[in-house]
Subunit: 348 residues, 2 copies
Amino acid sequence: MAQGILRRYGEHLPITDRTPDLSLCEGSTPLIPLINLGRELSVELYAKFDGLNPTGSFKDRGMVLAVAKALEEGARSVVCASTGNTSASAAAYAARAGIPCFVVLPSGNVAMGKLAQAIAYGAKVVPIEDNFDVALDLARKGAEEMGMAIVNSVNPYRLMGQRSASWEICDELGDRPDWLVLPVGNAGNISAYREGFDYYSSLGRCSGLPRMVGVQASGSAPLALGREFPEPETVATAIRIGRPVNAEKAKKAVSDSGGAFLAVDDEDILEAQRLLAGRDGIFAEPASCAGVAGLMKLKERGELPEGIRIVTVLTGNGLKDPDALLSRISPIEPVKAQWSVLEEIFRS
Amino acid sequence: MAQGILRRYGEHLPITDRTPDLSLCEGSTPLIPLINLGRELSVELYAKFDGLNPTGSFKDRGMVLAVAKALEEGARSVVCASTGNTSASAAAYAARAGIPCFVVLPSGNVAMGKLAQAIAYGAKVVPIEDNFDVALDLARKGAEEMGMAIVNSVNPYRLMGQRSASWEICDELGDRPDWLVLPVGNAGNISAYREGFDYYSSLGRCSGLPRMVGVQASGSAPLALGREFPEPETVATAIRIGRPVNAEKAKKAVSDSGGAFLAVDDEDILEAQRLLAGRDGIFAEPASCAGVAGLMKLKERGELPEGIRIVTVLTGNGLKDPDALLSRISPIEPVKAQWSVLEEIFRS
């Protein structure tokens, strides 16, 4: 039977007899060989497609544990400050658990499209007349004053659950890959992968860390460019973060593994999205494609060794953000419904 | 390693030594227990969530086989007439296979949102100044005159690949469920399930057919209501089909299994979508939710036996059609960023 993270990896997670058996069958996402892009880059390339999690992003891996522990600890509701994937995931697991979910966010950022998913799962969305930091402060206050479970990345169970992705990769490949290449925003996921590989290594299930390459968008690249980004801007909204909460952990993951941070332009990210879909048939949200954009850049620079085994993490489903794509497409002119016209098009 | 349909079920499919090893790791989708809805309906209820296939719908199961066989038979391009899930799936597998995909459709129906996915995968979209039937005729002519592979449901490999869903259900449950409840549009999927259960039964891997319940939207219900729908209309666009190609097969599946066809209103479908997401944390596209709507209706009528094991098929991801949801949501008014205001909301 489909199991989800808590059953599949429960022995490696802080589960007790009182932790509820929460699951949406998250995790166990496919590690898809990128046959065509791998050939072009002369490497053995895989995509860990975490966009095929139940709510469409890697956030489900940590959220299932965070909500299960919240239930165990007696929380009667869940709260987060978020405008994106976190809110969808929190809302889905809260719904499954039968408790309310509140999503606090700055009113200027209320794009209904992005929030549609959280609303579908029945979350109560609360736009406030202030910025994101204040939204997060109010969510925290809900946790402190009312015992709500805050499930932003300050919740330690989130990263613990996210470690499961590294375990799945090792279980499937029989070891860690040579390189792990992934997008970096708040830097939580790269930290979780590092901890996951370390832990599996301590069990003898993989040989230390892969070389970890964290890719940021150049308009939001505090780690890659080593300076502050008070007003980060990028098409890859899921990694548009100027002050990464887990910056220090991420730096250590990169230096301990002999890895690197890299910045790529929005154009490179969108080109990578086009290549992933157009060459290998995988549609991932823009942030997810930063890893492939990073690899293209390293290849151009002659800094990509041939023949190595690389896993790039696709953190979210392309269906999460169709606008990023649609905004670049011109309307298509209709043609006459005649075979001679179609024949010419089919031959082109 | 992740395998996809052709590797996992190759022995049961018309694969030869010359069939290419095509895969996007489709299939092996989770059978998610609907704990909360099952309790309300007093049945053991599971959702086969085929929206977690690589392109977000069950179409991938048949498309991988159709495109692999097209390659084997020497086709140099793929063509289909489609405005929805078929075009996305065809485009993804054609991209993976390295051949062009042409999508012909009536120009009046060009909703860029629905086509974004096919365009992302690099399909060439051709809107024609005529209706769907003419689009299909032109696609067929491309197949006849130019050797293009037509991958509409007239392609027999489509339904053969779709049988894999029934095999996965049996492999996971150890037998067929008591009932299988699924949306019916063109009636191909219900026919594929029937053939799949029959086949597995002949191998001794399940005990005959489950009772098959096919659910249609009442504005597009030729099988459930037994009359023609020249201009079908429903919010569940994926089953908005007035003349189902596989009508006869589907009728036989239902009568041979002691099942039934059922019509549900759009309001019931949208309520079922809300319940699936809000109670059990699963966001499926409207058509997918017809099965749950049908179960609610049978429950109301007192026609749903208690304690039986039911699988309902969720054919597509909710992210495919956020507009169906957004159109029903009113803008949310922002509130003052004060703890007293938030406290009151959190207590509500």
